[in-house]
Amino acid sequence: MSDIVEKTLTALPGLFLQHQAAGGSGVPRVSVSSRLGSLIRSITALTSKHEEEKLIQQELANLKATVSAPGTTLDLQSTNLVEVCMALTIVSQIFPREMIPAVLPLIEEKLQHSKEIIRRKAVQALYKFHLIAPNQVQHIHVKFRKALCDRDVGVMAASLHIYLRMIKENPSAYKDLTGSFVTILKQVVGGKLPVDFNYHSVPAPWLQIQLLRILGLLGKDDPRTSELTYDVLDESLRRAELSHNITYAILFECVHTIYTIYPKPELLEKAARCIGKFVLSPKINLKYLGLKALTYVIQQDPNLALQHQMTIIECLDHPDPIIKRETLELLYRITNAQNVSVIVQKMLEYLQQSKEEYIIISLVGKIAELAEKYAPDNEWFIQTMNAVFSVGGDVMHPDIPNNFLRLLAEGFDDENEDKQLRLYAVQSYLSLLEIENAFYPQRFLQVMSWVLGEYSYLLDKGTPEMVLTKLYRLLMNKSTTSETKTWIMAAVTKLTPQALSSKTVEKIIQEFSVSLDTCMRQHAFELKHLQENVELMKNLFLVDKSCEDLVVDASLSFLDGFVAEGLDQGAAPYKPHHQRQEEKLSQGKVLNFEPYGLSFSSNMSSSGYTGRQSPAGISLSSDVSGNSAETGQKETNSLKLEGVKKLWGKEGYLPKKENKAKNNPELQPVPQDSTLMENVDQMMIKKEQSQALHHSEEEAEKQRLASTLFVGLGSESAVSLLGKTDTVSHKFRRKSKVNDTKNRKVTSAHNINCSSFSPLSNAPYEDNNHLNNFQDKGDTGLKKCSLGSEFLESSLKSDSLTELDLVENLSVCNLSPSSLFEDNSMEIFHPPQPTLSSSATEISLTSSLLEELNEHVHSDLVELCNNEMITVSSCKIWKDDSLLLVWMVANKSNLELKSMNLEITSTENFKILEHPGFSFPVIEAESTTSIQHCVQMEKPFTEEGLSGYVKYQMEEDPCIQLEFSLTISLLDFIRPMKICTEDFGKLWLSSGNDVKQNVKMPDSQANLPFALKTLQQKLRLHIVDIIGNEGILACQLLPSIPCLLHLRAYAGIVALWFRSSCSTLPDYLLYQCQKVLEES
């Protein structure tokens, strides 16, 4: 038979070909069937899948065009019934949403058509529209009601589809229709319909089913509506004589409705009898439905399960997996503390045979839930979970192992029992790991390693060394994934303090410090460093503290020293990501009208001094440096930092107060293998045994099973036994206070400890921003090198680059654990303050102060003068349109300074826009004040000193004057000028003052790109264009004197040609260029 079919199919294309030949060429439009023919022909002619897809897509597009073409609309208007029918069918099948408005009126019109078949199809089409675009058909809901009252039953039946749907969405809106539905159902059941509607002498069965469903939806939790339906339901039950399959369908629907609506005892009783008919039926489909009915009935009436217990037991061994699954679902719902072990065992048996992933996932979830809820004892619980983990493996929901670990970690109300449970878990895992060549899913291994790491101290016999050996073996196993290895490594780290100078740990460190896996290598190094500092390690890995909240210094203040060092070398202070983003956006702006002064100074005064006397006089908390970037943006933040505590100390970790009582209770030896686990193991190896177990069971056995399965169902109050009610108390109750992150703490602890060994690597990376931060630092570092000619010398660039590399490395290693830090539950704790050198503090001060000015490049804070009372420092900010000088006067003493006065001597070359003198009435003890001046150049110069003095008065002492001076270079006023080549040309011709000079460069670097780059970076000249070995650059001297540079490189010589409208500027600029080029 099949052969013939295949042969015919292969002949098909040929057949179509013939058709085509017969069809001739006179056909103006390709006919439908010949189009199909040609499609088939072209598909068979194609060679690749890709071409085929293309062809089909094209065909689809054609089809769509055909449908949306006016053809369908025209057919709708046709007077031919069949055509209208066809058009309506097409409309409900593949009609594009956009076309609905076009045909909607036509279809609405069809609702009034004289032929019932048209009306019926129109209703269906409208329903389809309702599904695709409910908003467009909202106005015709009235018409649906009309359809419901149509004189033709077919049309009414069609409208029921719509109502079923709409009532499902919003039952309360259609309560008024209950009466109508009941009347219709009554008529149908009473046989008032034409005989046409009978199917196997049952009146309109599908209509009945539909109506019963609707009534169920309407009557749910509504006694008044349900009242209306009782009679007709009773009637339906009575009338349904079990003559045919379809009556079962109606009966089932009846039962379903009766149990859905507000209950009426008599009806329930009848329905229960009906369920019996289903369950006891030899027909497998009916049995399935019977079980299905039981699953939802059982919640209301658990006794019903008792009546059918023997059938249920039989169904458990049914060869059909669907029946089995439904039975297990039923059992799952009747589980209570007494029958849990039997039911779970049945589920596990089914699990062994099942291959489908979905079944495994759902069943494993159920088992875990039941085990957690009803576990009779620790042993059983652990063994069941072991089975769950080994079977569910890596497909199960990640919540299961997480919940399990949390449960172990948080424990219950009874301390002693907790210990027992944990101990048992440890012992069972150890024995599982004992087995040679056993394979466990990765998730299971992770659970094991966590538990072993955390709780193997509970073992009275056996040393940590033994556990470590086992973990080591796991680590070396090739099938262990790198994620699991990280878990194991964490466990090893936790065990290390208990097994000092362990050979295995040494071996692991050795093995993995050369590992190619960066993460593992990182962990190995951490472990190595920790081992060198036993005291710290012991503090860090406290025994049985997995539930204690680890406190993390989110402000990263322990990095202060490092940051200070960086800043000292000219690095820019950290800017948070969003700020950098803003800067990028605002770079286009030329002028910045934001009032720097206000926020700046308020920030200054607030720079949190936390009542700690520092020998250096000034010290700023890390919080300030950390937050200032953000706070600086706000206008008023003077109070912001006052409440902030100092949180972090050198140790990085404060030992917690409690030293848990070491009085371990007598630990009873737990049998290493219980029946359940044995079962699982065996099943894993050979399945037959479990099956044999089944088949060999005698009738009596089944009875026994029944009694165990259904124990506690009938006798006690039903509600409390039913698992699904919320009142059931979990056997393992969770402590409410503890949050989700607990069982992941391990790794975070792991991370924190880094803080102790190297200033660099101890940064617990909160996110990837820090990386950017360093990159940024590098970038601004570069800018700085180029600008601040005086500050250039610092080797910051290279420094920050290597830092960057290092950091990059580390952060890569830390990527996986780093996510742990985002858990917000960690408290911040605070160790003693870090002592910082005064220079370092100052830099952090700068960083904090200058954050707000960060959108401009600026120099470092340079100390101009100081005495034992005050320090005056200054910093240049190279704004796009001016040079801004910021002066900072820090009062180091603990006394108030009065009538402070800062005066700048004016020179002919400078113009200082703010009035040169400035007086602060009072500078409070240990605070810093700042002012800023906008400086403009009057006449070009190379370098010029700017001098001034500070005067202050302390208490009643006479005035003290402190002088300072600051060098200002021409470059401070040079800004890139962004012009195009054309403008350059025009400007070049119009500028008169020429200066030419050849500069020799070291051979290796005498190329154009290098020279250009140097000039761009160090002098901030704008590269306008590069043509061959010539380049043109442009810059401007503030406020707006352009200077143009033409540059040609050949044979180790760079020819510079300056032109500018200002006569002196080219000379000065040439000097600078020569300097940087020769230096490079």
Binding site: S2, P28, G71, D320, I322
Partner: protein, 175 residues
């Protein structure tokens, strides 16, 4: 709602597939029970086996399982009536007719008609129309396009411009 209707033969070769919703592929193994559950979702496969063919309906929870089983029965009986002793080859060579029958039974995923006689009447009317078109144009393939052309009012409408006396309505009288 009915999501899809599929017909396979005993070798798993698809003979008809009709989807009322975009759908992912499924590869069921048939069990004694006429019901399969597809992983995770609300969807069920309900099937019946006749001779060499499996009739599979994929439905969601709003359909009654037994109701669908009988619907399959109605479908098969209707096919049997229309093709007079239906067999697998009928489904291959008259796939259009099978689709037409299905369209009369299920419309847009909703059961439209369950009365066999009613369906047969509709199909007969369609056949009649097709035959009358066939008489007009000679070849069935050309008939469809010819009738389509006749119904396309573009040609007469073009003539109509300026001359209202020529009317379209006399065209349908051909049928």
């Amino acid at each position: 709602m009915i999501k899809a209707i599929l017909i396979f033969n005993n070798h798993g070769k698809p003979r008809l597939s009709k989807f009322y919703q975009p759908y992912v592929s499924i590869s069921p193994r048939f069990n004694p029970c006429s019901l399969l559950l597809i992983g995770g979702s609300d969807n069920k496969l309900i099937y019946r086996h006749y001779a060499t063919l499996y009739f599979v309906f994929c439905v969601d929870s709003s359909e009654s399982e037994l109701g669908i089983l009988d619907l399959i029965q109605v479908f098969v009986e209707t096919l049997d009536k229309c093709f007079e002793n239906v067999c697998e080859l009928d489904l291959i060579f008259h796939v259009d007719k099978v689709h037409n029958i299905l369209a009369e039974m299920v419309m847009g995923g909703m059961v439209l008609e369950t009365n066999m006689n009613e369906i047969v009447t509709q199909i007969d009317a369609q056949n009649k129309l097709e035959k009358s078109e066939a008489g007009l144009a000679g070849a069935p393939a050309r008939a469809v396009s010819a009738v389509k052309n006749m119904n396309l009012p573009e040609i007469p409408r073009n003539i109509n411009i300026g001359d209202i006396s020529i009317k379209v309505p006399n065209l349908p009288s051909f049928k």
